[in-house]
Each structure stands twice: as structure tokens, then as C-alpha cells.
């Protein structure tokens, strides 16, 4: 019988074998990440500042477009982008086009905006932003409702300009009271 205190992790390892370590559920700390935790040439502070600037611009453009130029909205999305709208999944430009056309006209008010640069390990180096908004929206014929929305924006080469453009890779929208 062991009287000295053993490391609880070691104890478990002995009992169940190394593959059952609780820590492995989330990711073993010493698994070598072959990517550095920061982008190679740009530091985190710069990424954050950039993401703020771009998200602000994006939010102005997006909500203005959805309210006033609905037919142009799908241009902001990647060809294979997905929208999850209150649990309804819509994928691809054509389906998105049809979906946005079916929505009544809208009046959005964005009240809060937060953003983060997405870690490059998730995006294989393709610059991506996480944009999170909340506010209220009034669809024609319906009462005003609060919503939460988030986007993944990714930088893509554009055929129309020599500068890359932001495209929506995913869009997730939910009314706060969706269950009512």
C-alpha cells in the first residue's frame, strides 16, 4: 500500500492507461503545436487593431446593404458560405439569394459590436475575423425583436480589384426570443 502521496495524474495513468487522461479530452498540453501562437510577421496587437477597423466597416456595409440594397447582399458572401438563420441552414449563393429575397424588408439597429482576429491555426494562414453583433431588427409586418449574430469574414483575392476583399464565410443569426 502506498503511503506517500502520488501525483493524481500518475495515479490515474497507472489505473487506466495514458489514453484516458482527463486532460486529453481537451488537448494534451505538450502536444507540439507546429504553428506559432502568433502570426509570423504581424503581432497580436496589430491584428486586434486591424480587426476592429475592418469589423466596424463591415458592419456598416452589411446592415446598410440588408436594409437598403437587399439584392446586392449575396455579393458579400463566399460562393459556398453558410447562413444559419434561427436554426435554418442556407448554403451557397443561389440559396442565399432566394432566402434573402424571401425575407421581408428590414430595419436593423446594431447596438453592440465585438470582434477578434481568428487564430491562424484554425484558418491555415488565411486572414479571418470573428465579428459578433447584437441589436434589434424590425422586419416589415412583424414586431421588433432583439437578435444576436456572428460572422466569420475571410480575406479573398478579388477578380474585380488587385486588393483582397473580405467575404463572409459563415453567418449565424438568432432572435433572442426565437422560441416564442
Amino acid at each position: 500500500m502506498q503511503t506517500r502521496k502520488s501525483n493524481p495524474i500518475t495515479k490515474r495513468r497507472k489505473q487506466f492507461g495514458s489514453q484516458f487522461l482527463r486532460t486529453q479530452i481537451f488537448g494534451w498540453r505538450s502536444v507540439k503545436c507546429t504553428f506559432s501562437s502568433m502570426a509570423s510577421t504581424v503581432d497580436f496587437r496589430t491584428l486586434v487593431d486591424q480587426s476592429c477597423r475592418y469589423s466596424d466597416e463591415f458592419v456598416n456595409i452589411y446592415y446598410d446593404c440588408i436594409d437598403k440594397r437587399r439584392r446586392n447582399l449575396t455579393r458579400l458572401y463566399l460562393d459556398k458560405a453558410t447562413l444559419v438563420w434561427n436554426g435554418n441552414a442556407v448554403t451557397g449563393r443561389d440559396a442565399l439569394s432566394e432566402f434573402f429575397e424571401s425575407l421581408p424588408s428590414s430595419e436593423f439597429q446594431v447596438q453592440s459590436l465585438d470582434c477578434q482576429p481568428v487564430h491562424e491555426q484554425a484558418t491555415q494562414g488565411q486572414t479571418t475575423l470573428l465579428v459578433v453583433t447584437a441589436g434589434s431588427v424590425k422586419f416589415d409586418g412583424n414586431k421588433q425583436r432583439y437578435f444576436n449574430q456572428n460572422f466569420l469574414l475571410t480575406a479573398q483575392a478579388s477578380p474585380n480589384s488587385d486588393q483582397p476583399v473580405w467575404k463572409i464565410a459563415s453567418d449565424c443569426f438568432r432572435f433572442q426570443d426565437w422560441a416564442n
Binding site: 482527463r22 479530452i25 488537448g27 444559419v84 436554426g87 441552414a89 421581408p104 446594431v110 416564442n180
Partner: protein
């Protein structure tokens, strides 16, 4: 009044009713230019013949139509109205009847008729109030030309619950969330260090209207206000903007540990899978939690949280981005929260476990670090196959899945 009602025409003739012999003989005074009388008449119509189409109010000394205004809502089918030989002085009286879909109107013998220089102006003024009018003072008018603008009623697509994309992703995410929140709610969030990537980022936001602390009360989200990141309000303050993103795993978890202790209603969690690629799984979780300590103990909050995770070697999900939005729960959400006996995952009464099962349960709970209820659920979901259940937990499934969808990622350039 019955004798004045013509059922076949749905017409009621109240011409000069004040001098109606029946009423006079009974000493009933119906003076329609008095509010009470008019209201009473409308009430009688509403209660007995609300489908009335034709109404004759001529010769009743009406000088204003305010008291008749209710007729627009109570007798909506009225199409023929005779107001001739009254004392209406201006066409503005007609504004009070706007909404009636009149087809025929008689106004002759009213002072207002004399106001117009020509017929066209008169017709135009009346039609402004009753665009569908076809007959005025007995004269047939040319029919108005409308616009075919009849649009379908504006309906929104129905709202649905969680969108998981596939059963596999559902299992992976639910498994992850069970683990994550059992630690998050445990009182010590330090073990979450293993859930986050070295370079992870976290930020939080709250509703705009609650970002200005004016009241200190239970619902004020006070614990979250100072760290709320709303970049629209920080345009001139890049330092704060930067400070409020918690960066690196240590900072993220240290901060999470400072947030109020919570109890999440796991059963009510809604998950939307934003997207996935070979290297990324992004999903949004929303639901309700209760604060279990501090100034706002017992407050119910609702949240929307975006997780972006990467596969971690062959061992599970590792969070790289985490954004949390917290607001107060609505009374409806509070009513629905924690309805199922928490946190028992199965709705049926817990069946008695056999001895080997109990042993397996204890071992699994110890191994996984989850409480008995969730351990039991995991084992039950896997038919009490310890290895299979454990496999889910070690994330081998996660690895297999990420490998398989390697071909499908959307970041094709």
C-alpha cells in the same frame, strides 16, 4: 328600429329619426346630433346588425361626425352612406370616417356642398377620403384606377432549434459542452486551461442599454460591465479595446475564473454549427444560466457564445477563439429554464444499475472527471461499452472526423 331595417339590402334607414312617431309616442328621444344618441345607435347596430351595408342618416341635423367615427371599426362593411340634408360645414368632417370603404355617398343639402367652385374639386376632395367611391350625390363617377400592389403578408421563416449539420458533429460538440460546462459550473475553472490553445483569445459583451451603469440592482449585469467590449464605443480608445481582449490561455482562464459562479441549464442549450473545415470547427451556443454566488446570486442570465476550435493532435477540441455575450434572461426564459430535473440527462426515472454497471460508472466518472449523472449518460449512450465511451472522450472520434473532412473544406482558393 327593426321596422327601419331592410334585411334584404342590409340597409338601415334612420332618416329624420327624431320625429319617428313610434319613438315620439314612447317619449324616446333619439337626437342623432347628440353624442349619446349616436353612440347608442352605433351600439345597437354593432350588436344586432354589424354586417350593415347601407345606412341613411339624412335629416338629422348632424353638424359633426366625431361621434360617428367608431362606425369605421364596428361596421366595417358599410358601403353606402347617406348624410344628405344635415349641417356638415366642411369636408374635413369626412376625415373622421376615413377607413370606411364607401362606394356610395350622399352629401347634398349640407353647407359643405356649396364650397366648391367646380364639381371636379368636390369629387376630388371626397375621393381623397374614400378612394373607392363610385357614386356621389346620386351621380355615377368614373371608376378610380388603382395599383396592383397586393403583396403577400410578410412572414418570416419559422425558427428552429439547434442546427448540428450532422450526427457526428452533434456528438462531438455535445460531448465537449458537457465537459466544458461541468468544469465551468464546478466552482473552479482552472482545469479549463486544458481546453484552450496557447494563443487563445476571449472577449465578452453585454447589451448596449445596460452598458451605462445607472442602477445597482440584481439585473444590472454589474459583474460584466467593466469587461464589456463594444468596439463601437471605443473607437478613440485602442488601448482599452486591446486590453479587453484576453489573450493567451492563462489570461483567458484567469479571467473566466473571476466571473461569477454559474449553473448552466445544459438541457436547454441551443447549438448552431457555423462552419467547419479541416482545421476549424465554429459553433454558437445559446442558453440560460443562473448565478450562484456574489451580489447577483440567483439572477438568471441568457447568453450567446461563439467557440472556434481546432483539432488538438489526436485528442479532441482546442479553443482558439471564444466570445461571450451575456444579457438578462426574460421572464419567459426563466420560466422555461431548469424545468427538467437538473442535471439528470434522462427523463425517465433512473433505472437501478447492476453491480458491474455501478462499478463501471464509478470508474468512468473517476477517469473522465465528470459527475455521476453525466458519466452515466455517456455510458448509456454507448451501451455500457466502456471502451467506446472512453474513446469518445479521448477525442479519437474528433480526430477521425477532422481527417475525414479534409477534402471538403471551404477555404479552397
Amino acid at each position: 328600429m327593426a321596422k327601419r331595417f331592410d334585411g334584404s339590402q342590409q340597409a338601415l334607414d334612420l332618416n329624420n329619426i327624431r320625429v319617428d312617431p313610434d319613438l315620439v309616442s314612447q317619449n324616446i328621444e333619439v337626437t342623432l346630433n347628440r353624442r349619446n344618441s349616436m353612440l347608442a345607435v352605433i351600439k345597437i347596430i354593432e350588436e344586432n346588425i354589424p354586417e350593415l351595408i347601407c345606412l341613411n342618416l339624412s335629416n338629422n341635423r348632424l353638424y359633426r361626425l366625431d361621434d360617428l367615427a367608431d362606425i369605421v371599426n364596428k361596421v366595417p362593411n358599410l358601403k353606402i352612406l347617406n348624410l344628405s340634408h344635415n349641417e356638415l360645414k366642411t369636408e374635413r368632417e369626412l376625415d373622421k370616417l376615413k377607413g370606411l370603404k364607401l362606394v356610395e355617398l350622399s352629401l347634398e343639402g349640407n353647407p359643405l356642398s356649396g364650397h366648391y367652385k367646380n364639381q371636379a374639386d368636390y369629387v376630388s376632395a371626397v375621393r381623397e377620403r374614400f378612394p373607392k367611391l363610385l357614386k356621389l350625390d346620386g351621380h355615377v363617377l368614373p371608376p378610380p384606377i388603382g395599383f396592383d400592389l397586393e403583396v403577400a403578408p410578410a412572414t418570416l421563416p419559422p425558427c428552429k432549434a439547434s442546427y448540428f449539420c450532422s450526427e457526428e458533429i452533434k456528438n462531438i460538440i455535445l460531448c465537449f459542452l458537457q465537459q466544458y460546462y461541468s468544469i465551468y459550473d464546478s466552482g473552479d475553472r482552472q482545469p479549463l486551461l486544458d481546453a484552450y490553445h496557447d494563443g487563445a483569445a476571449f472577449s465578452l459583451s453585454i447589451p448596449f442599454t445596460l452598458q451605462n451603469p445607472t442602477t445597482i440592482d440584481l439585473s444590472s449585469l454589474g459583474e460584466y460591465q467593466k469587461d464589456c467590449r463594444n468596439i463601437r464605443r471605443m473607437k478613440d480608445d485602442p488601448t482599452t479595446r486591446f486590453r479587453l481582449i484576453k489573450h493567451t490561455r492563462l489570461n483567458v482562464v484567469a479571467f473566466l475564473n473571476e466571473l461569477p459562479k454559474t449553473q448552466h441549464d445544459i438541457a436547454s442549450l441551443i447549438v448552431d454549427v457555423n462552419t467547419y473545415t479541416a482545421t476549424l470547427l465554429a459553433f454558437t451556443v445559446s442558453g440560460v444560466f443562473k448565478e450562484t454566488d456574489g451580489k447577483s446570486r440567483d439572477s438568471f442570465r441568457a447568453f450567446s457564445r461563439v467557440f472556434i476550435a481546432v483539432p488538438a493532435g489526436n485528442a479532441g477540441l482546442c479553443i482558439v477563439n471564444d466570445e461571450l455575450f451575456v444579457r438578462n434572461a426574460t421572464t419567459e426564459e426563466i420560466r422555461r429554464a431548469f424545468v427538467a430535473p437538473a442535471p439528470t440527462p434522462s427523463s425517465s426515472p433512473v433505472p437501478t444499475l447492476s453491480a458491474p454497471q455501478q462499478e463501471m460508472l464509478a470508474a468512468f466518472s473517476l477517469m473522465s472527471g465528470m459527475n455521476l449523472e453525466w458519466s452515466q449518460k455517456c455510458l448509456q449512450d454507448n451501451d455500457w461499452d466502456f471502451d467506446r465511451a472512453a474513446q469518445i472522450f479521448t477525442g479519437l472520434k474528433v480526430h477521425q472526423w477532422f481527417t475525414r473532412i479534409n477534402e471538403e473544406f471551404i477555404y479552397k482558393t
